[in-house]
Symmetry: C2
Subunit: 328 residues, 2 copies
């Protein structure tokens, strides 16, 4: 069964989806929708077209699943429920605190339209969430830990760029090795924000900017940096472009639990991602979810779902017999 998809938004994530589609012969890209002038957007896939977002409605019935590649802050809260009126869809909404609201809005729209929408795909939320769920279902008594990094946080990089005198910046979030070791050792420690992660900043200054002030403003920035041990490195634009031009990320989900009649037995589950490209990995997940969304829709399912609701086999192109034989 071929799944015909559309991509809404052609940034890092949209391009990642396009690349992932190429690796999946049962998925076919029909169209990329952009807010820009379509003739200004060059895509990689010969067989797909670029359309302005205003043409979305014309594609109702011609696309099996729309993959939304916009941002969680400004795009998805409106886009997703609106798109659910026309298409089965997948998004990567990642503002944890607002997921219940986003779920409710999308569920209502999808149920009314008879479509199937999977929200919050990706790796966190997404694969990390799934690991937390499985680990909690198995080790009922225990403690969860999530560490991120070493990887680029785009939100933190943006926050630095907004400081006066900063020309460009990249911020890496790094797990603290001692904390990770303690968790892996089954000690189930109580950890403060500062004990779990450090922040490394690589900053290019505007000419004449006051480095000391910039460093102070970064380190004391509420929410973003004040609760962390932060190091700031001032480097040249050339060095930033040469050495910090990719978007690696990753992290760890660990649950330390106890089993046995008196909960005396230590059991530790760890899931680890080491990603050379955060957007390409996220995109690969979204494409697998698109396949699942279409299958669930074909079964007559409607409404909003998350990765928690999807039978794992629905993510794979191969059938049950093949999967049991080769992967079980």
């Amino acid at each position: 069964m071929t799944t015909k998809i559309g991509i809404l938004g052609y940034g890092n994530l949209g391009r990642g989806v396009e690349c992932a589609v190429k690796q999946n012969p049962d998925i076919q890209l029909e169209a990329v929708f952009t807010r820009r002038n379509p003739s200004d957007v060059k895509i990689l896939t010969d067989t797909a077209v670029v359309e302005n977002v205003s043409s979305l409605e014309k594609y109702k019935g011609r696309i099996d699943v729309l993959i939304l590649c916009g941002g969680s802050a400004r795009d998805l809260p409106e886009q997703t429920p609106k798109a659910a009126k026309l298409f089965n869809l997948v998004d990567s909404f990642d503002t944890h605190a607002k997921i219940p609201e986003h779920f409710a809005n999308t569920d209502a729209a999808a149920k009314a339209a008879g479509t199937l929408a999977i929200i919050s795909g990706g790796w966190d939320p997404g694969m990390f969430s799934l690991q937390r769920l499985y680990a909690n279902a198995i080790l009922v008594s225990g403690k969860d830990y999530t560490f991120w990094g070493r990887g680029v946080s785009q939100g933190h990089s943006d926050a630095i760029r907004r400081i006066e005198g900063v020309k460009d910046a990249k911020q890496y979030t790094c797990p603290v090795q001692a904390a990770l070791d303690s968790v892996r050792n089954g000690e189930n420690p109580e950890l403060t924000t500062r004990q779990k992660h450090t922040r490394e900043c690589y900053v290019v200054l505007e000419e004449g900017a006051d480095a000391e002030r910039v460093e102070r403003e970064i380190k004391t920035m509420p929410n973003y940096f004040d609760e962390y041990d932060t190091t700031v490195h001032f480097i040249s634009e050339e060095e930033l472009n040469a050495k910090h031009n990719t978007l690696p990320h990753g992290g760890f989900v660990i649950r330390g639990g106890k089993t046995g009649w008196n909960e005396e037995t230590k059991q530790i589950i760890e899931y680890k991602l080491q990603l050379a490209s955060n957007p390409e990995f996220t995109s690969a997940i979204l494409v697998a979810l698109a396949r699942a969304a279409y299958r669930m829709s074909k079964e007559g399912q409607t409404g909003c779902r998350t990765i928690f609701d999807i039978p794992p086999a629905y993510l794979m192109a191969k059938d049950g017999e093949w999967i049991r034989k080769h992967l079980l």
Copy 2:
């Protein structure tokens, strides 16, 4: 919703299930079924009864899910399809090569009886399989690695015990660090059996037995040891009982993959288990699967399933809203 369970077979696994039930307030143990004389079997749960296996049929309608805790070699191939005629069930059938046949037999019996059977629960097959599936669905282009250990292999320990002159033995399977490092480094190496694992044996000899011969017989045993670097330590019975009296295990599932238009980006997914008790961890999974089996049965589903078919949320006692809020 409370799920009433029965346990068939009361060895390490059966006792583990009983312990896991205690940690899950929505699961209730009704009865333990044994081939032994019930009055010879002492269980830990005051509120449950011990019955001879011949009484199984009497419990039809009084148990929501039967958890089969027998062995894959001799018990489950017959027991599971037979039990599926009476109950929803979960087993931990782990003879990989025979899973298709076991699935077909169980599926036919369960469909005819209108029951729901989940086979091959546990961690391998089970959680490891699930990780292979998710990783393959995401990283379409890549290579899978499974390492086991450091942990006790009961099959290998038994094989040593069958050698003349051996009084008792424990065998540990150990991953080779260099291989693990290479895989984690994304090198996607080709590894022989010998390059992946070593085998450590702790052996108690009968009085007067020929140590040299025993060591040679172990190291050259076909399938079990001949393809591995094996070390043999002769120790006293006291030392074996003091230092090797638990059943730790674990391992790693790693997929090294590539994403990007030209598959130029390295992405690595790793899942790791560190288990102080293999049977207690396996049991904890079986209990979560029992909850899922009952839910699927309540929906009217019948036939055979594996962990690949189960929406992850079905494994948790909490509802969707709670799970999305706390784990997504």
